[in-house]
Symmetry: C2
Subunit: 355 residues, 2 copies
DNA sequence: GTGGGCAATGGGAGCGCTCCCACCGACCTG
DNA sequence: CAGGTCGGTGGGAGCGCTCCCATTGCCCAC
């Protein structure tokens, strides 16, 4: 040690004059434990190069003083922020089946529970928000990003890619998604639903799709088609009607289908909300569900349990998706160079009364 | 200036050797603008004591370098964090009408949009989380707290009170709530609902309440009672059944009421979800809604629009509650000593088919 | 006994800001 | 013209950490 300050190195003096009502600092812990700052830091950060004796002394001092590291000071020097952002484009979020959002959050939060990372929630509602977010990300204020509800032409994932910020999407933009993502098996779920309708003996199975610029909508339509074709049925355009994931859209789509193909005897809707709309149009047209027309939705949302008749629907493990997203993100943060990863989680058909 | 370093004070040299790919710092901005660090800081923070000339030079330099202040460094010295936490006890959150959670978030986020504050989301699911949160708050890692869904005996508000952290509740614990809060006019909404039933000519109006250790449940029951009494009707215990805000609870409560008072001709439920359950029991008992029994819910949630018949319900301005909470919190942060404030927002009866 | 290696340790330097004090010059006053 | 006043300014100090280097003491081999 170079002799700079004439400070006697005697036994620990406890605390020196502590200013204000401030929280204890590393230095105070060190003084109380009778060791140097470096050693305390090593103990706090779990370094192995510390003697048992020193570790015990530090731990005692930490407990006694109720020491909690100052996050800002740490961030300043490490330039880690110990925070991740959950980014939700609001417009899309509203379309999602109702518990979706809270379930994602719930899963994310659960998985984050013992990681000491903060969860920042960022709602993006317009162009200005998008720009602010980009600036924000460029300023490196988070260690990673979870992005929910991606449209095919959303610029945000590209920004994340360019900035090389660890990030995980819920869902993907298309077949070739370079970023890590976690998605439900939408195609598989749709196929199960249509198989179920076929097994029931339905002959003319229609489908109401979501906006086809979204990969979810494409995938669900793909599953519908696959089920028909594997059963040797013909895929017919007149049985497909595009809507926008809203109830009103579902109503209009069903009306159009009834007009075009009056003899339709089953409908697979790409969301419960649209199915609820379809149900109204069916009832208005005097069709009984499921006797005249069988109906299946997607999401197994709260709406599905409250329609009359209760709706058969495809469930996706939303909470598990949230958890998995965090797991992937943490790995990516820990090992920045690693290859992007893709996870697809199984869906499940919940059979109720409507089909 | 004291002559310390032999550093020539010549014209601005632009940037010096910049290390790494780091973001520009205050110092670099100062150099480029040809002013001192202090002046740049003053400009960034909107101090009035800066000449026009200097301000312009700094702003140009900021734009050119794409400078964004380092939040950690700022926090370290000011001990402001520029972040607020939205705390949601998960168990309770799940009981809430479905869009509640997202609407609160949406309002909060909207109001926060141009304040440069970060929104931290904290879900609390058990005792361990509660303790972690307390430690977290003690470590002063947020400037303020928004707390949603408070139970009467929730210890969290007390912690907030003791720590004197600026905080605003959604709802209140009881009549005497010392903390700032924003609540819907639950009593008023309930009264409107029951008045509506009275106007319809209903004679025996029952109610299904929420857990009476929650102030919302108490308030809604209070409104029910007030409406009856102001109409000169008698408040009768046998017409009141307590449930737990769940669908199943609503079902059971309705069964009990039908058994006890078969001649019941109207029911006010303290939530839509419970009303949905009640509806099932009514149907099972062969009662027609609204002809035999009129039914009103509370929350105007998505469920209300999808029951058959569609449910008359009391709407609360949830998003507006979120916005107001932020507004109060910001005021409290800006002026720590100020008196706590209480805001009650009006509710509204949405008449549909069930009553 | 001497030298080398190694684990454990202390503490200086420095992260990028804000705060504050000292200083500068222009302007006003008597 | 000396002596204030005051808006504007520069930059040292310091916030609480981590990083890293130098130093220590110990053990083992030669």
């Amino acid at each position: 040690m170079t002799p700079t300050a004439p400070r006697p190195l005697g036994p620990p003096t406890g605390r020196e004059e502590r200013r204000g009502a401030g929280r204890p600092t590393l230095e105070e812990v060190a003084a109380l434990a009778g060791v140097g700052r470096g050693t305390v830091s090593r103990v706090i950060n779990g370094s192995p190069r510390v003697s048992e004796r020193a570790r015990a002394a530090v731990e005692r001092a930490v407990a006694e003083l109720g020491y909690v590291p100052n996050r800002a000071a740490r961030t300043l020097v490490t330039s880690r922020t110990d925070a991740i952002a959950l980014v939700v484009p609001e417009a899309e979020a509203r379309l999602f089946s109702e518990p979706y959002f809270s379930d994602i959050i719930s899963g994310v939060s659960a998985e984050l529970a013992d990681s000491d990372l903060q969860l920042l929630l960022v709602l993006v509602r317009n162009q200005r928000d998008r720009e602010r977010l980009s600036a924000y990300l460029k300023a490196q204020r988070v260690d990673g990003v979870l992005l929910v509800a991606v449209h095919r032409d959303d610029p945000l994932p590209t920004v994340l890619e360019d900035l090389r910020i660890p990030s995980v999407l819920a869902g993907r933009r298309g077949d070739q998604e370079p970023l890590s993502y976690v998605a439900a098996d939408n195609a598989g779920g749709a196929r199960m639903a249509v198989r179920h309708l076929l097994r029931r003996g339905c002959e003319r199975i229609a489908t109401v799709t979501g906006p086809l610029d979204m990969e979810v909508a494409q995938a669900r339509l793909g599953g519908y088609r696959a089920a028909l074709e594997e059963a040797g049925r013909e895929y017919r355009d007149e049985l497909v009607e595009q809507a926008d994931f809203t109830e009103q859209g579902g109503r209009a789509a069903m009306r159009a289908l009834l007009e075009r193909v009056p003899e339709v005897d089953a409908v697979f809707c790409a969301s419960d909300v649209m199915a609820a709309g379809a149900l109204q149009s069916l009832r208005a047209a005097g069709r009984r569900v499921p006797q005249d027309v069988a109906l299946i939705g997607f999401d197994d949302s709260i709406v599905a349990r409250h329609t009359d008749p209760a709706m058969t629907s495809v469930r996706q493990p939303i909470q598990e998706m949230g958890r998995t997203m965090v797991r992937l993100l943490l790995e990516e943060i820990a090992e920045p160079g690693r290859a992007r990863r893709q996870v697809v989680l199984a869906t499940e058909l919940v059979v109720r009364e409507s089909a």
